[in-house]
Symmetry: C2
Amino acid sequence: MTAIERIAGVMGGLGPEATVDFMARVLALTPASRDQDHIHMLVDQNPGVPNRQEAILRGAEDPAPALAAMANRLESAGADFVVMPCNAAHAFQTEIEQALSVPFVSIVDVTVEAVTELSSAAVGLLATPAGIAAGTYQAAMREPLIVFDEAERETFMSLVYAIKAGDRGEAMTTGMRRLAEALAARGAGVLIAGCTEIPLVLGPRDIDVPLVVSTDELARRTIELARGERPLPATGT
Amino acid sequence: MTAIERIAGVMGGLGPEATVDFMARVLALTPASRDQDHIHMLVDQNPGVPNRQEAILRGAEDPAPALAAMANRLESAGADFVVMPCNAAHAFQTEIEQALSVPFVSIVDVTVEAVTELSSAAVGLLATPAGIAAGTYQAAMREPLIVFDEAERETFMSLVYAIKAGDRGEAMTTGMRRLAEALAARGAGVLIAGCTEIPLVLGPRDIDVPLVVSTDELARRTIELARGERPLPATGT
């Protein structure tokens, strides 16, 4: 047995494909030659959480109680720390942390850390309208971000909904690449894939500008924490 | 909201890639156009369960306590029924069911049901040495099964361990196809992929003989039960 130190709790279903993609990336990024080398994760694949876009942008049903309940369920089941492979839902991080006595590890924080280490160029953020409106990345970065304009936000969200509906075709990749290139054309020298649906259709090899994939950054941090290679952060509350 | 009726508990990590593959198949087989259409699953991705092959074939550390604890954890966290996308570990179904007060749905039973509905031809079983030795498929089928000889069992297991170590290359597919063709050459008119690592490298389109994939059969049944389209079976104890 390797020294599997800590159980990672994964708040999933936001969306479900992105959760499976996150889990696959955790496996791919773990140095492992047999089952027992992998990390232990408890995953709540709960697609029933109310729509985060509608809540943040239009005041529809608040997903915070469902997210807090999910976090709590994972901690009760044994999670030593909790992660959530969905960027927009981090708008509700405070409510999630209030439900937890174990640390919540933010995908926004680990991604900002990675992009800051990688480059001092202007950063472009590919994110959903709610992700942009919530301002989580803007708050975590010291420098201003280059973000989508109104028309690009709509286009991006229509792609995300199509991906959530199961479309991973070439048109999705092309549409996503065009949006990334628009941010680069406005001066971004490095891009954040700040929505976990993006890497389902667009990877770093699809564009010329460096792309920091938030799903990968969260996967790497999750592995390090689960394997005890890094101390747990302090709890948020 | 769709009527998501029941939470599926998934005993995972046996192996971890097979669990992610199972979850991806559940998503692919669910009629869904948005997050909220998908089913709710609680997944214990626990790769630390002692090696099932070693336990069954050579009397090494018993995985039953770890499996029972995993089942119990899922029920405590809210699972309305429990599935396990690993065929060999079904040798410990009795111990798992003793730990549960909710139903355990056997991958062996749903796969045998599917293969019986599909064909009256002689059935070939692709399974691990422990899966064959445990006799779970033989017990569930009315007719005798065509299984691997000693040399084929060794070859098959070396492929499975390579897949678990991350190899999904063409050599894996070729090796697996040859083993499938060997069972067909001995009279099998339909084959069971009775190990959840198989579909990571071999699908029905890779061979001429019909291949019933146990992962898919369990995914279909899980979806039907979670959506309330089928009554829960009786509990095992």
